[in-house]
């Protein structure tokens, strides 16, 4: 890797980590996701700063091409994240459904109460 490439990659991963921290600071990211993304950010910075680390882990695990190890882990991780998000979305949909029903039921109750009130006061 040339010095230039190294610098660009390092700045890039530090920026990603900074972005994650900033999202947390502005309370745009829930605590339950915070730890996960902080770990991702830190791991990213560490591997960009010390590329030799990846090569050593890869050879220790018997992976011939170090980047393949990176891709493998990254894909596994991303599939997990997407699956989790789909699950969250389904859960949220169920919650909004229940809330929408409650709002409709309450509004009808209220309308009926109002009508009763009007007929008794007249």
């Amino acid at each position: 890797m040339t010095d230039n490439n190294y610098l660009v990659a390092l700045v890039g991963s530090v920026l990603i980590l900074a972005g994650i921290v900033e999202l947390l600071r502005r309370r745009q990211l829930k605590e339950k996701y915070a730890v996960l993304w902080l770990i991702v950010g830190v791991v990213l910075v560490v591997f960009t700063a010390f590329p030799a680390l990846l090569t050593r882990i890869a050879s220790a695990l018997g992976v011939a091409v170090p980047t393949n190890l990176l891709f493998f882990v990254a894909i596994l991780f991303l599939v997990g994240v997407v699956l989790h998000l789909s699950w969250e979305a389904s859960r949220l949909e169920n919650e909004t459904r229940k809330l929408a029903e409650d709002v409709a039921l309450l509004r009808l109750d209220l309308a009926e109460l109002k009508r009763e009130n009007e007929t008794t006061t007249d």
């Binding site: 929408a100 029903e101 039921l105 009808l108």
Partner: protein, 236 residues
């Protein structure tokens, strides 16, 4: 829509009518209310199943012991509501079936027809009764099925017909059918295009498979009864 409500009220004056407006315009709500219905207006669109569960929850909350669902498009004849309600008692879900012994104008062909036949076969076996038209939207619900549906009615594709029957069968509710005559719809045409029918077949198979493998935590509680019965309809 208003016409359908007036028709229901004329056919069954002693039964209150609830219209579930699924995120539709204020105009619909106004028309329905003007026609003499109570209107449950959902703030966002939930689909047929969502509208249905809202209706069932209303029925349970207000102490009704049965509910009849009638489509807003005028396809279902309100004069047959008493026949559906008569089926309740021994049964807890009564389906108003199309293409029964009656000679009616309702005909479906192609993949959509196959899907309906297969669904009816599978659901007949599951509910241990002969169902010829499991996908009918004209149904009466009572007994333990009412609180069950108020809690567990699915809001997914075909959930209002296929999956709801699977849930009822799992909970041990008795299902039966009565023959009904269908009328042409007042608004909206049923699709008979081959591609759409094929998609319907696939999605129906998927819905059935999902319904069969899903775990349902179904322990219905006995409903407090007050003897009144609302007819309800889902507007989508």
């Amino acid at each position: 829509m208003g016409e359908t409500v007036r028709e229901i009220r004329a056919a069954t004056p002693e039964i209150p009518v609830l219209v579930v407006s699924d995120g539709s315009t204020d105009h619909t709500v106004h028309v329905a209310r003007h026609a003499g219905a109570r209107v449950l207006a959902l703030p966002i669109r939930l689909g047929v199943g969502g509208a249905m569960r809202a209706g069932f929850r209303y029925a349970v909350h207000n102490g009704y012991d049965a509910a009849v669902q009638v489509d807003a498009d005028g396809q279902h004849d309100p004069k047959q509501v008493p026949a559906l309600l008569d089926g309740l008692g021994p049964a807890e879900v009564v389906i108003g079936a199309r293409f029964c012994e009656h000679e009616d104008g309702y005909r479906v062909r192609g993949p959509r027809r196959w899907a309906m036949v297969v669904l009816s076969k599978v659901l007949s076996r599951l509910t241990k009764t002969r169902l010829t038209d499991a996908t009918s939207g004209f149904k009466a619900t009572g007994g333990q099925a009412l609180p069950l549906f108020a809690e567990h009615y699915p809001d997914e594709y075909l959930g209002d017909t296929v999956e709801s029957l699977v849930i009822a069968a799992r909970a041990g509710c008795a299902v039966t059918q009565v023959p009904t005559r269908m009328r042409p719809r007042r608004g909206g045409e049923p699709s008979h295009r081959p591609f759409k029918s094929a998609v319907y077949l696939g999605r129906a198979a998927m819905a059935l498979a999902l319904a069969l493998i899903r775990r349902w935590d179904v322990t219905p509680v006995p409903a407090p009864s007050r003897g009144l019965r609302p007819a309800e309809e889902g507007v989508t």
